[in-house]
């Protein structure tokens, strides 16, 4: 049935696109064509950059053809792959998916462990050692390595350094200093706020919240794959601090702020003095702002402590496809993570380079000398904890979002909300303990 359905589908597609004539018979050995599904999640000409790498790779490896499929953001790419596999189709050889998708992808049996390839590679170990440690946090499961960091980002605090200088303020080094700076930089015209001290998006809140929890000494996840610490007193305190920024300090708008898209523009146009956002916005900010942009990790609770959390996508190799394609895909992975290329990708896209070697290249050194903010952003990775990834992530993350937003919106106290989130999450995780 499935086969008949598939062939009917295939025939239809062929007829519709009129590609029947262009279809060459598949060759058994020699040339191999691999597909890579690639999400475009930021406002940079990523597809053009990536196509350039593919061209270069094909020059070096004439027997391999790489087809990039750009079909939306991370969610769309994941959906497309799931639909293909569940419908009995062949997955692409490679895809860039969120680092946090790890457990879902392994449990569904979609991806291949990279251990054999790393072991067979003559400098496999050195290769793996070169990746920045916090980018590897979501690559291991079940004693195996499953993904290679590629387009990675982190949560940062951006500030208008000119406003800080005018007010005689130092960049904040603790929660209290942060709140006070926000308070001092908030401007009002009567009752109306004309400039906020801080904008802290929370429409999709877990990621930007995590540095608050980590900055108080307790991440929301633990070492295990089914451990969460939502109701830890330190996490509750971090939720309270978010609320305090508006309630106690009056430094930001009350409640959930669904302003992810606007926040960088708001900072650049002077609507706010500080924002919490992705490192992916750095290039845009440097272009748009006519003041000196300051970049740092988020202040922690105690003076002199800072915190961040990584994000973004990793390269995954798919299971149940022709081994020749997998070999070619591994070659392409290695090609993409050569220090020179990682540096170039970082400079052009605004993402971090995923390996330490890239920061030693001449190109990167020159770029960092011209843009000191890049090094400031890079420093945030040293204080980054692990991004929220557990088993049954979709459900557990929903639970956390629901209650965190209820706390932000004052519908529940932080302690009540986090206790409820913990209890529901335990139920959602019971099949994994």
């Amino acid at each position: 049935m499935t086969l008949r359905k598939l062939s009917a589908l295939a025939l239809l597609v062929l007829l519709m696109t009129g590609m029947l004539a262009a279809c060459a018979p598949e060759e058994a050995a020699g040339p191999v064509t691999i597909q890579i599904y690639y999400p475009v999640a930021v406002d940079a000409p990523i597809a053009a950059i990536f196509d350039g790498y593919i061209e270069k790779f094909q020059e070096e490896n004439p027997s391999i053809t790489v087809e990039a499929v750009y079909s939306g953001g991370y969610g769309d790419v994941k959906t497309a792959i799931q639909t293909t596999i569940d419908g009995g189709g062949e997955p692409p050889a490679l895809a860039v998916l969120l680092a946090t998708d790890l457990y879902d992808l392994v449990n569904a049996g979609y991806i291949l462990s990279l251990d054999d390839y790393i072991a067979a590679d003559e400098d496999g170990e050195a290769y793996m050692q070169d990746f920045i440690a916090s980018f590897m946090e979501n690559s291991y499961y079940d004693g195996k390595t499953w993904s290679i960091p590629f387009q990675r980002s982190a949560v940062l605090m951006y500030y208008n350094a000119d406003l800080f200088a005018e007010a005689g303020l130092e960049p904040p080094d603790s929660w209290a200093a942060w709140g006070e700076a926000g308070q001092a930089l908030t401007q009002k015209d009567g009752d109306e706020v004309t400039r906020w001290g801080i904008e802290f998006p929370s429409g999709w809140p877990y990621w930007l919240f995590q540095p608050l929890a980590i900055g108080n000494g307790q991440n929301i996840i633990g070492e295990g794959d089914a451990e969460v610490y939502f109701d830890d007193p330190k996490v509750i305190e971090a939720v309270q601090f978010y609320i305090d920024l508006s309630e106690k300090y009056g430094a930001m708008a009350a409640g959930v702020q669904s302003i992810w898209g606007q926040a960088p523009t708001d900072l650049a146009s002077g609507q706010t003095a500080m924002i919490v956002h992705s490192s992916g916005s750095l290039n845009t900010l440097l272009e748009q702002a006519d003041f000196e942009v300051g970049v740092m990790a988020l202040p922690g609770k105690e003076a002199g402590t800072y915190a961040s959390v990584p994000g973004g996508g990793n390269l995954y190799l798919f299971d149940k496809i022709d081994p020749a394609k997998q070999d070619a895909a591994w070659k392409f992975i290695r090609f993409l993570s050569e220090p020179e290329r990682a540096a170039d990708f970082s400079i052009q896209s605004g993402y971090f380079a995923s390996c330490k070697g890239a920061y030693e290249t001449e190109a990167m050194k020159t770029y960092m000398a011209a843009h000191p903010q890049v090094a400031q952003a890079r420093a945030a990775l040293d204080v980054a904890g692990a991004e929220f990834s557990v088993q049954n992530l979709g459900e557990v993350r929903n639970i956390f979002h629901n209650y965190l937003q209820q706390a932000y919106n004052g519908e529940m106290s932080p302690a009540e909300a986090m206790a409820a989130a913990q209890a529901e999450a335990e139920v959602a995780l019971k099949d994994f303990k």
Binding site: Q82, G255, L393, G394, N398, N402, E411
Partner: protein, 300 residues
Amino acid sequence: MEKETARSKIDRYLPYLLVLPTFAFVLLFTVWPTLSAFYRSFFRQRLNIAKFRIPTFIGLGNYANIFSDPHFHRVFANTLLYIIGTVPISILLGFLFAMLVNRKVRNVGLARLAFFHTTILPMVSAATVWMFFFTPGYGLFNTALVALGYDGPQNWTGSPNLALLAVMIVAIWKNAGYYMIFYLAGLQNLPTSLYEAVGLDGASWWQTIWYLTLPLLRRTTLFITTIAFIDSFRTIDDIFGLTSGGPSEASTVLLYYLWQKRFEQLDIGFSSALTVILILLLLVFTITNFRVSEKGEEDV
């Protein structure tokens, strides 16, 4: 004689041949997925939990889980509220717009375009634009409201009390122009002689609309009500763009919930059962709608 038979043969089979492509598509993309969802709804299958990856028959277990799921109750209530809040208003507005632009005045084409252009915009772009309109403080929507004397809360997409309303506002804005087109087409097909007749009888403007225009447009209204209802169940892309279903599920409606269950939580059984429920709801509504209206027609 022989020629005759050949032609009648063609006549006999041609209609089937002509509907074949449509039929094949409906079979492949509507009937087959529906049957498959129905079948899968009796199994527990969760792709992200290794031990539940292989489907096991659990009878009506998924349905039981759905009806006891507090999130489903919330989502269902949101969906009803959304339908009640958007369908009648956007149809009424569509009718009013159609009345407005169904005249022979200068620049009426421009006015039609103004009402209709929202329909042409892709929903995701529309949602992105509205995100800017909704921005607290300087957003266009808030600025306009303040100019009209509004001094209530402005956090449209972040407040639990306003998020669903924000999604509804965008839906009404988007759909009213679409429904206008059907009403406009309907209005232009109405015989002018009837209007001249009621004019001679001295009917008021209101009487003309109530006793002549609306009854004559009954079929159009039936059609629009049906598509409006189906459309409102299909709402999903604007929610992605505006609120992601939040805050705290305040703007999660049925199809978005279904998407979350299927593609974020990889729960095949649960989402298949939700699909079946969704299809049944639409079927019951559409059939009732047609029945009621046919009955009304007999009465007339």
